[in-house]
Amino acid sequence: MKTMLGNMKTRTNLVTYLVVIAAFVLMQVFNSLGMLSSSQRGYLVPVCVYISLAVSLNLLVGVCGELSLGHAGFMGIGAFTGVVVAAVLKDAVAGDAVRLVLAMIAGGFTAGVMGFLIGIPVLRLRGDYLAIVTLAFGEIMKNIIGNTYAGIDGEGFHMAISTSKMKLGEGGKYIISGPLGATGVEKIATFTMGFVLVMFTLFVVLNLINSKEGRAIKAVRDNRIAAESVGINVTAFRMKAFVVSAFLAGMAGALFGLNYSSMTASKFNFNTSINILVFVVLGGMGNILGSVISAAVLYILPEAMRGLEDFRMIIYAVVLILVMLFTWSPKFKDAVSVAGDKIKGIFRKKKEVGSNE
């Protein structure tokens, strides 16, 4: 029994990895055969980014049971750090791939440190109060990044929070210029790196869930007081999950930032945080494979509905509501199980009839 349980866990994890690998290989094959259109090729990297974001948020929301509405804030920190690091290292580091990895690590690190710093005060709060504080944090980050100026010139790297304080020397180049955001970013992100990021995120999150830390985190979610009574330091675990989640979001942000030539702070707003949350909830709380699939599907869905033109977003909204109702409504679940029982019932009757004969 015990070993079977262990096997089941590893089996679901294995399926998750396999699905991702299969999807990657399939896309690579399609791509090399020229079967993907420009727009489909364009989805590859952002889908990887959003999968990583959804999986890392699922660690917080699904596994820990902490509602965070500021995930895009960490993504934004990672994105802008990544862009700056990639620009600064342009001459110092030769290979684009190495530079990309360094930028992503730097993005993750900065986001993780930010997560830690705001985690110290914030994690004393619970439930909806934590939600509002993460929302506030996201807005603060957006506001600060939106007024940040950064650039490099002959003397090195400069950064300021207003244009008047920012004086670049001869041949200086702005990397981030306030509300205009990051411009002229060299696009070094690749689908392969996106795949690596997704695999890394899955590896970290799945391992964490299946380790003693994950067990403790789930215990805290299930019953905080009981967990404390057996010596689990609840705040420490929320902090660990928070920092890991922020770190992964920062990495994803860096990859995102380096996939486009420009990027504004307003991208990392409340709506983006909410979108990631939608991926998590729709994919199932704590269900990692669910997050992977729902992030991919829901990211592409509004794009795939471009043919609907002006009705696109309203239909997306309706689809979203309907899918929520179908997957969560107890009535619908009952209806499904009743129908299932009936079908089973029919088969059973037939069998009984058969055995009577």
């Binding site: 349980l5 067990r215 403790a216 215990a219 299930d222 007081i225 009981a226 404390e228 057996v230 010596g231």
Partner: protein, 281 residues
Amino acid sequence: MNEYSKKMLKVPTYNLLREQDKDKLPVLDVRNLGIDFGGLTAVDSFNITIGPTEISGLIGPNGAGKTTIFNLLTSVYQPTRGSILINGIDTKGMTTHKVNKLGIARTFQNIRLFTDMSALDNVKVGLHNEIKCPFLCSMFHLPPYQKAEAAATRRAMELLDFMGLADVAGQKAGSLPYGVQRRLEIVRALATNPSIILLDEPAAGMNPSETTELMHQIRRIRDTFHIAIFLIEHDMNLVMNVCEAIAVVNYGRIIAKGTPEEIRQDPAVIEAYLGREEGNA
């Protein structure tokens, strides 16, 4: 005569320490404990000393403040007055998880298992602090972690087996029968390697044969692990049979302390508590 001893004089001054524990440091030493909720005094002047391998009981009518006392002992509530020493260390200002590390573990009146996890995992959560391995090591499942994890699984199975729960190790805790859940909570508490374990109504909801078995198990726990047990229970049969010393509380104050025989004959207890039941009979 100081304040402390004056209060002690008001109640019978039986020593709850067993003979063999006399020279040893008491595992739990509570002095003059009290808590107010708003203006209401829920517990006041609560004193108790429990030796390292003693089984003691805490009884009293409903609403007497028994569970509140347990919550104070485990730092779920911070006391308004008085002090709690666990193995000689004052728990003032400590959080629940730190107090647990000092050596106190408990079960809950309304069972608080991790219902979505297997019984085995419930126990392994109890073993969390026993699996010594840094965060990154466990996050990346490095060999030292895997070794520690395997050891923890073995230990958890041993503990489950000890309480006769090895068969249900793989089942979801929430789906287990009530009596089994109560015993699982005890195993989980034991897993934290405590020096004293607090049982909050361990026999509630059990049938007589289960209760009898529980009595044996409580004694067996003490004898095997050499730890102290402090329990709240309404089942007088269990309390009188298993406890070596009993404290009776009413309105948040101790009204009697002593051996089961003494408690049985104490007029204050009979009046406040047992008296009513016997009067009915």
